[in-house]
Amino acid sequence: MITEEQTSQAVAEILGRYRKEKKNLIPLLQEVQTRLGYLPKRALQEIADFLKMSDVEVWGVATFYNQFRFIPLGKYHTMVCMGTACHLAGGRLILEALERELGIKVGETAKDGNFSLERVACIGCCMLAPVAVIKDKIHAKMTPFKVEEALIPYKQEAQGRLEEGKSRSQS
C-alpha cells in the first residue's frame, strides 16, 4: 500500500505541471493512476481541491470511466478479455477458471497482493480468442486446462519472493 504522505507528494508533483482548469480533470486522474497504480481517496480529494471542484464531482467523473481503479492492483495483474469473439470462444470459462485458481473474484486483488483479476471489454486480438493477459503477457487461445499451467511461473515467483523475505528476516 502507498502511504498518505507518498500519495500527497506524488499528487503535488503532478498537479504542479497542470493549470487549474476543469478540463484537466481526466488527464490528471490518468497521470496519477499511472504513477500510483490506482486512485487513492486522498489523491481524489487533493485533485478536487486543486480544481476547486467538490469531492463528489471528482468521484462522479472518476467512477464513470472504466479506466480508473480505486484499489491497488496485484503484482501479477490478470485480465480476461470479454469481447465478442472471446465470449463466443468461451471467455466466461477462462474467467471462472482464473477465479478458481486464484481464489479471488473478478474485480478483486488477493490479500497477499500478488494477483488481481479484471474483465476487460476487448483488447483487440480477436483472432487469438479467447485471450487472457497475465502481467502484460498475452496468452492466446486459452482453455480452462491451460489456465493452471499459465499461472505456474507467476505463482512460483511469488512463492520464491515470500521465502526469500522469510530467510532474510530470520538472518
Binding site: 478540463k23 480533470l25 462522479g60 463466443l88 483487440g124 486480438c125 480477436c126 487469438l128 480468442a129 486446462f145
Partner: protein
C-alpha cells in the same frame, strides 16, 4: 518548406531503401500479440551473426491477422516473399536462406508479392484479394508508420497541398460529389457536416477525430492509427482548412497505447517540417493537433458525450439540436468525424469526388472496412467496395467456417447491430440494406457464429455490455435494458415464460423510443434481430428448457457414453480443471454433475476414436446411468 522539398528528401530515402534488401515485420498490436517483437529481436541477432546490414522496417498491419507475425523479405531483382506465423526459431533459416543466400524458403512462405514464383502462392491472386479494394489500407503493412517519409514518398500530403490551393467551398463540393458518408456507423453525409461547421459564425472552431473505438470486436481505427497515421492527420488538416478551424484533437482510447504513441510520433514529424503549425506548408493557414486520451466509456463514441469527456465531465450525451457544428467543444462550432472518414479525405481531394463515387453503390460510396473475427478460418481486417455481399466476405475473404462447422449467423455492428442469418448472406453491404435487415454498419466489427453458438446467449452478451456501458442518463436505457437483460438471463437459465417474448418486444420499442443517444436507441437491436431470425432458439429455451447449441450452462450438461468410453484411457480425468470426472482404472468414467463447470474440456480431449463425451440438453435428458460417484459407492 514546400511539399516539393519535403517530398524530394522523402523520395530519395524511399528509393535508397528499395535499392537494397530489406525486411518488413508487422508490429501492430495484433502482430505483437502473436510475438512479432521476439521475431524482430531474432532478426537483429541473426543478421548480426551473419555480419549483414539489412534494414528491418517495422510496419503496421496487412490485415491478415490469422497469419501474424508476418515478415516480408525484399531483395532487389528477386521476388518479395511474405512469411506467415513466423517464430523466432524460423528466423535463422530465413536469414541464411534468403537474406544471405538465394533460397527463398518457399516452404515457409505464405506467398510472393510478384508473380513468377513457380509453385508459390502469388498473394494478389488469393481469393480474398479478388474482392478487396484497399483504399485506406493500401500502405498498411508496407510502409513504416513511424517514418513520415514513407508516407510522403508514396504520395502523402499531396491532397493537402492541392486543398490549400482550392477554396473551402470547392473542397466541400468535392466531398459532396464523392458521396462520402460518416464511417462512425450512422452514415451522415460528410459534406453536410463540414458545410454546417464552415457556415457557423462563432470562432474559434475545432476539429475532432473520433478514435474512441469501443465496440468489442472491432479494431479498424486502431489498425489505421497504428499502421498509417499520417493519412488521418492529413484529412484533419484539410478539414481544418475547409471549416476554418485552427485546432484539432484526436480523441483516442487510453486502451490503445501503441496507437497513441504512433500518432504522437506522426504529429511531431509533421510539425518539424511545417505540415502542422502556424503556417501550414508556408501558407497563412495555421493548424495544430493534440491528443486527448479517453478514459474508457463506450458511450463516449457518441459525439456529444465525447465532447463532454473532453471538457472533463462525465461522458453523458445531450439532446440535439444544437448540433456540434453550432455548439460543440466549449460551445464552439466543432467538426467531429471518425478516423476512417478523415482517412478518405486526402484521396478524395487528390483524385476527385467523381472517382470516389465510382466505387460502391447508389447510396453508399467508396469502400467499407470490416474486422472479421469469430468462427471464420481467416480472421483479420478487410476493405471491400460497398455493395459486396456478406457471403463473399464470410466465405471468400474469411475462408468460410472453421472446423467445417455450419454457419449460423453473422453479427455486424457490435452491441448496436444485429445478427443476420444465412438467408440474408446475399444482401449487399451498404448503410441502407443493413439497416433494413435490422442491423447497421456500425463501426465495422463483424463476428461470425457457427452452430455451436447460442443466439439467445449472444443477445444476452450484447445486452449485458450495453447495460454496463449505459451512462444512466435516460431511464429507459438505464433500467429498460437491465429489465430486458434479466428476462434473457431467465430464458438462458431455463426460467423463461411464454409471455416473455412479447414483453421483451414491447420493452425493446420503449427503450428505443425513450433513449437520447445511439447507445440506447440501438441497444435492443441484437435482441430484436435474434428474435426475428432465430425465434426457434428462444422457444426451445423457454418451452423445452433446451439450448440447441449446448452453450447455456444451466440447460446443458456433459455425459460420458459408457459403451464408448475406453476404460484404460484417462485423458478426461487428467485434464478436467475441476476434477469432476471419476473412474478407477478399467472402469467407465463418470462426470460428477455437481462439480462439473461445463467447460467442455473432456469433450475436446476425448480421443476421436472413442468420441465418448457428448453434450446433452435439456438436463432432464441425462441417463440414469450417470450416477454421481458418491451414489456409486453405495
Amino acid at each position: 518548406m514546400t511539399l516539393k522539398e519535403i517530398a524530394s528528401n522523402a523520395k530519395s530515402e524511399w528509393e535508397a531503401l528499395q535499392k537494397g534488401s530489406y525486411i518488413l515485420i508487422g508490429t501492430a498490436t495484433c502482430g505483437r500479440a502473436a510475438g512479432a517483437l521476439d521475431v524482430v529481436d531474432a532478426f537483429n541477432s541473426g543478421l548480426a551473426r551473419q555480419g549483414l546490414r539489412v534494414p528491418i522496417v517495422q510496419v503496421g498491419c496487412m490485415g491478415l491477422c490469422y497469419a501474424e507475425p508476418l515478415v516480408t523479405i525484399s531483395k532487389p531483382g528477386s521476388l518479395r516473399v511474405v512469411y506467415s506465423n513466423v517464430s523466432p526459431e524460423m528466423v535463422p533459416r530465413l536469414v541464411e536462406g534468403y537474406v544471405a543466400g538465394d533460397d527463398p524458403c518457399l516452404e515457409l512462405a505464405l506467398g510472393t508479392l510478384e508473380g513468377g514464383g513457380g509453385e508459390a502462392v502469388y498473394i494478389p491472386e488469393l481469393p480474398r484479394f479478388e474482392h478487396e479494394l484497399r483504399l485506406i489500407l493500401h500502405r498498411c503493412g508496407y510502409s513504416d508508420p513511424e517514418n513520415m517519409n514513407h508516407y510522403i514518398a508514396n504520395g502523402g500530403y499531396g491532397g493537402l497541398e492541392k486543398a490549400l490551393d482550392t477554396s473551402a467551398e470547392k473542397i466541400i463540393g468535392e466531398l459532396q460529389k464523392s458521396g462520402l458518408r460518416g464511417r462512425g456507423g450512422a452514415g451522415f453525409p460528410t459534406h453536410l457536416k463540414w458545410e454546417q461547421c464552415r457556415r457557423a459564425r462563432s470562432t474559434p472552431k475545432y476539429v475532432i477525430c473520433n478514435a474512441d473505438e469501443g465496440d468489442p470486436g472491432a479494431f479498424m481505427d486502431r489498425v489505421i492509427l497504428e499502421s498509417d497515421p499520417h493519412q488521418v492527420i492529413e484529412g484533419m488538416i484539410i478539414a481544418g482548412y475547409a471549416v476554418g478551424a485552427e485546432q484539432g484533437y484526436v480523441y483516442v482510447r487510453a486502451e490503445y497505447p501503441l496507437a497513441i504513441e504512433r500518432i504522437k510520433i506522426a504529429l511531431k514529424q509533421a510539425e518539424e517540417v511545417g505540415l502542422l503549425g502556424d503556417n501550414v506548408l508556408g501558407s497563412s493557414f495555421g493548424f495544430h493537433i493534440e491528443i486527448a486520451a479517453g478514459a474508457g466509456a463506450f458511450v463516449s463514441g457518441e459525439a456529444t458525450a465525447l465532447v463532454a469527456a473532453m471538457e472533463g465531465r462525465r461522458s453523458e450525451p445531450r439532446p440535439r439540436p444544437p448540433r456540434l457544428s453550432e455548439a460543440g467543444l466549449w460551445h464552439k462550432p466543432t467538426l467531429l468525424n471518425n478516423v476512417k472518414t478523415f482517412a478518405y479525405v486526402p484521396m478524395i481531394i487528390e483524385r476527385g469526388g467523381d472517382w470516389f463515387a465510382s466505387v460502391g453503390t447508389e447510396g453508399s460510396k467508396g469502400t467499407a472496412m470490416f474486422t472479421l473475427a469469430g468462427r471464420v478460418v481467416n480472421s483479420g481486417l478487410t476493405e471491400v467496395p460497398m455493395g459486396t455481399t456478406l457471403r463473399k466476405l464470410v466465405y471468400d475473404i474469411g475462408g468460410g467456417i472453421a472446423k467445417d462447422r455450419r454457419f449460423k449467423a453473422v453479427q455486424i455492428g457490435g452491441p448496436s447491430g444485429g445478427c443476420l442469418p444465412e438467408a440474408l448472406l446475399n444482401i449487399p453491404i451498404d448503410y441502407d440494406s443493413l439497416r433494413q435487415a435490422g442491423s447497421m454498419m456500425g463501426s465495422g466489427g463483424m463476428i461470425v457464429m457457427d452452430e455451436n453458438n447460442c443466439m439467445v446467449d449472444a443477445a444476452r452478451f450484447f445486452l449485458d455490455f450495453s447495460t454496463k456501458e449505459s451512462c444512466g442518463k435516460c431511464t429507459m436505457c438505464r433500467l429498460g435494458t437491465v429489465q430486458m437483460l434479466h428476462i434473457l438471463e431467465d430464458i438462458t437459465a431455463g426460467r423463461g415464460k411464454t409471455e416473455d417474448i412479447d414483453f421483451i418486444l414491447t420493452l425493446a420499442e420503449d427503450v428505443k423510443a425513450g433513449s437520447l443517444c445511439g447507445l440506447g436507441q440501438t441497444a435492443p437491436n441484437p435482441v430484436l434481430t435474434t428474435l426475428r431470425y432465430f425465434r426457434d432458439e428462444y422457444e426451445a429455451h423457454i418451452l423445452e428448457k433446451r439450448c440447441p447449441a449446448g452453450v447455456c450452462p444451466e440447460l446443458t450438461l456433459y455425459y460420458i457414453l459408457p459403451d464408448r468410453c475406453d476404460r484404460a484411457c484417462e485423458h478426461c480425468i487428467l485434464t478436467c480443471p475441476t476434477e469432476a470426472i471419476k473412474g478407477e482404472k478399467g472402469k467407465v468414467k463418470v462426470i460428477d454433475q455437481e462439480k462439473c463447470s461445463k467447460c467442455g474440456t473432456c469433450l475436446e480431449v476425448c480421443p476421436p476414436e472413442y468420441n465418448a463425451v457428448v453434450k446433452l440438453s435439456p438436463v432432464s435428458s441425462l441417463p440414469a446411468s450417470n450416477v454421481s460417484p458418491k451414489e456409486a459407492k453405495k
